[in-house]
C-alpha cells in the first residue's frame, strides 16, 4: 500500500503521513530538516527557537542509557533572526514545517512568531524540563499557558500547537488551559526529568546536572498522558514519547493521538518515518481499518 493511504488533515494542515519529526531532533538546520522529509516524515518540527542566540548547556548534553536517552541540550539556537533562512530551506522539503518556539512570557512568544513568519504552524514549547526561566517553568502554570496560547493565536493565522510537560501533577489541567487559550492541538509529552551520575567519580554526567528522559522508558507515561488528554479535550492530541516502531504508533493512536511525533528513535534509524508508515499501512489494511478507526479506540473499548 502506498503511504498516501495515511494522509490526514491535522489542524488544517495536510500531512501525507501521520508521522512527524519531533522538536529538537535534527532540527538545527534547514538542510537537516529537509533530509528528514526525504526520509518520509509527514511534517517536521524545528529545534526550539528563541529571541536571542543561545549556546545551550555545556557537554555532555545527551546520553544513551539502557532504557532510553537523557538529554539537556539547553535550547541552543541562533535566534529567530538567524533561523529564518533555515526555515525557508526546510520548507523546500514539501511537507509542513512547524516552528517550535520558546519564551519566558507571552510577549516573547509573540515577538518570535512575528519574526519567524513562514512556518506552517507554531508549536509552543512550554515544556522543556531543563532550561532556566523557560519551558516547564512556564508550562506548569495553567494561567500562563493560557495567556501564552491566546497571545500566539492573536498573532498568527496558522495553527498553534502547545507541547505539554509531563512533569506536573495533572497534565489535563494544563491541556485544558491551552485549549481555553485557543490552541489548535496539544502535543504530549516532552521529556521526563531525570538524572545520571558517574559512579567512578560521583559527578552528575550531564553538563546541566539533570535533564529529560526520552525513548522507550517514557512511552507508557506518554500513552497515559495522551489517553487522559484525549478524554478531556475537544482538540486533537499529537502523541510523542518513546515511539520507535509502527506498533508504538498504533498504541499511541489507540490512546487518542491523531498523529505521532518521533524523536530519539532516529538514533537507531533515520529511516524510521518510512518504516512506521509502511508498518501502519500494512496493519490497517490487514485489519480492514482506516486511521479514524484506531484513533481513541482504547476509550471506545472501555467506555462504549
Amino acid at each position: 500500500m502506498s503511504s498516501t493511504d495515511l494522509s490526514i488533515q491535522l489542524t488544517g494542515l495536510e500531512l501525507e503521513t501521520p508521522t512527524i519529526l519531533a522538536a529538537g531532533v535534527l532540527g538545527t538546520t534547514g538542510a537537516s530538516l529537509k533530509r528528514m522529509t526525504g526520509e518520509g516524515a509527514g511534517a517536521v518540527v524545528t529545534k526550539s527557537i528563541g529571541s536571542e542566540p543561545k549556546e545551550g548547556h555545556p557537554n555532555p548534553t545527551m546520553l544513551k542509557l539502557d532504557c532510553g536517552f537523557l538529554n539537556a541540550m539547553g535550547l541552543p539556537n541562533p535566534s529567530y533572526r538567524d533561523f529564518r533562512k533555515e526555515l525557508s530551506i526546510a520548507s523546500e522539503g514539501g511537507v509542513p514545517v512547524i516552528a517550535s518556539v520558546f519564551g519566558a512570557h507571552p510577549d516573547e512568544f509573540v515577538e518570535i512568531i512575528i519574526g519567524l513568519k513562514g512556518a506552517s504552524a507554531y508549536e509552543l514549547n512550554v515544556s522543556c524540563p531543563h532550561a532556566s526561566g523557560y519551558g516547564t517553568v512556564v508550562g506548569t502554570d495553567p494561567v500562563l499557558v493560557e495567556e501564552i496560547t491566546r497571545a500566539a493565536k492573536r498573532t498568527t493565522d496558522v495553527p498553534v500547537w502547545v507541547k505539554l510537560t509531563p512533569n506536573v501533577t495533572d497534565i489535563v489541567e494544563i491541556g485544558e488551559a491551552a485549549s481555553r487559550g485557543g490552541a489548535d492541538a496539544v502535543v504530549a509529552i516532552n521529556t521526563v526529568r531525570g538524572m545520571a551520575i558517574d559512579i567512578h567519580s560521583g559527578y552528575p554526567i550531564l553538563g546541566n546536572l539533570y535533564g529529560g528522559l526520552s525513548g522507550p522508558a517514557v512511552r507508557p507515561v506518554a500513552v497515559k498522558c495522551v489517553y487522559d488528554l484525549y478524554k478531556a479535550l475537544d482538540i486533537p492530541v499529537i502523541g510523542v514519547g518513546g515511539i520507535g516502531s509502527w506498533q508504538d504508533a498504533v498504541e499511541m493512536m489507540m490512546a487518542g493521538a491523531s498523529a505521532v511525533q518521533v524523536g530519539s528513535a532516529v538514533h537507531d534509524n533515520v529511516n524510521i518515518f518510512s518504516e512506521i508508515t509502511s508498518g501502519l499501512s500494512a496493519y490497517l489494511k490487514a485489519n480492514d481499518h482506516c486511521l479514524d478507526d484506531i484513533i481513541g479506540l482504547a476509550h471506545r473499548k472501555v467506555e462504549p
Partner: protein, 275 residues
C-alpha cells in the same frame, strides 16, 4: 552508553603544543573513529583516536587545556568509539574491480596518499599503520607551522615515504602542504586521506578536484558536536543534512566539494560562522 572511566597511563610530548595521552583501555575502533572525552565537571569534546588507547591533544580551549594539565594516574570519562572511519581498501581490489568494469575509483587502494596538517595527523596515524600492515604503498605528506610542530613524523616514516611542508620553511617544502603535493603525480595514487585545518583541506580538495580525483578522497571533518550520537543535529552540514558525528566524521571528497567545506561552519548556537 555511560562514560567509561579511563586512567592516564602515559603522557607523550609530541611537539611543543601537542601531547598524546595513553590510557588503560583500548576500545575496538576503526581508524578515523572518535571518542567523546569527558573532563568531568567542565565539558565533553570529540577527540580522534591516534591509537586504540590514545588521544592526541593540542591545547586550543578550556577542555583541551584541562586535558593538557592531566598527569599519569588521573582519570577521564570516554564514550565511544563513534562515527564512521576511513575505509582502507585492500591490495588487489583494483584488479578485481577493474575486471568488473568499475572505473569510478571505488575499490582501488594499492597506492595511497595521506595528507596530514597539524594535529590532523592524529586520526591518520592508525590509518597509515593499518594500510602499511596490509602491504599498501603509503606516502604521507605532513604539514605544520614549523619543524618543531611536525606530528608523528617518525611514525609515518615507518609506514612509507613522507614529504614535509612547513609554513616557515624550517623543514621540507617552504609553504603550505599543497605545495608539497605538486611534487607528486597525483593520478598515480588510488586513495587520498586528509585531515587538518579546514581551509587546508579545502585547498587540497580543490587540487584533487582539478585533477578529477575528488571521488577518491576521504576527509575527516571537524564540526561542533553536542550529543555526539546523531540525534540533536548540531553538526549537520549543508546541503546534504548529513550528521558529521554519525554519518562522518569521514566524508568523501565528491560529497564535500559540493558542501559548506571551507565556506562556513556553525557555532554552538547553530549560527553560521564564515571562514
Amino acid at each position: 552508553m555511560r562514560p567509561v572511566n579511563v586512567i592516564i597511563t602515559e603522557i607523550i610530548r609530541e611537539t611543543p603544543t601537542i601531547i598524546t595521552l595513553r590510557t588503560d583501555i583500548e576500545p575496538d575502533a576503526a581508524p578515523g573513529q572518535f571518542v567523546m572525552v569527558w573532563v568531568r565537571g567542565l565539558d565533553e569534546i570529540p577527540m580522534a583516536l591516534s591509537h586504540p588507547g590514545s588521544i592526541t591533544v593540542q591545547s586550543v580551549g578550556k577542555a583541551t587545556e584541562a586535558l593538557s594539565r592531566l598527569e599519569v594516574g588521573d582519570s577521564i570519562g570516554i564514550r565511544g568509539p563513534f562515527g564512521n572511519g576511513f575505509e582502507v581498501k585492500e591490495k588487489g581490489d583494483r584488479e578485481e574491480k577493474e575486471g568488473d568494469g568499475e572505473e569510478d575509483g571505488a575499490g582501488k587502494g594499492n597506492k595511497i596518499m595521506i595528507i596530514a596538517g597539524g594535529v590532523g595527523g592524529a586520526p591518520l596515524l592508525p590509518l597509515a599503520l593499518q594500510a602499511h600492515s596490509r602491504d599498501l604503498d603509503v606516502t604521507t605528506l605532513i604539514g605544520a607551522r614549523t619543524a618543531d610542530e611536525l606530528l608523528f613524523e617518525e611514525h609515518f616514516l615507518k609506514c612509507g615515504a613522507i614529504s614535509i611542508a612547513t609554513d616557515d620553511g624550517s623543514k621540507g617544502h617552504h609553504g603550505f602542504i599543497t605545495g608539497a603535493m605538486e611534487l607528486f603525480n597525483l593520478a598515480g595514487f588510488d586513495q587520498f586521506y586528509i585531515c587538518g585545518p579546514e581551509l587546508m583541506m579545502k585547498s587540497v580538495l580543490d587540487i584533487l578536484r582539478a585533477a578529477g580525483l575528488e571521488a577518491m578522497a576521504q576527509l575527516s571533518l571537524h564540526r561542533y558536536f553536542k550529543c555526539g550520537i546523531g540525534v540533536c543535529g548540531a553538526c549537520t552540514i549543508d546541503p546534504s543534512g548529513l550528521r558529521v558525528c554519525r554519518d562522518g566524521p569521514v566524508l568523501s571528497g565528491d560529497l564535500l566539494i559540493k558542501s559548506e567545506l571551507g565556506k562556513y561552519h556553525r557555532d554552538a548556537t547553530g549560527k553560521k560562522i564564515m571562514f
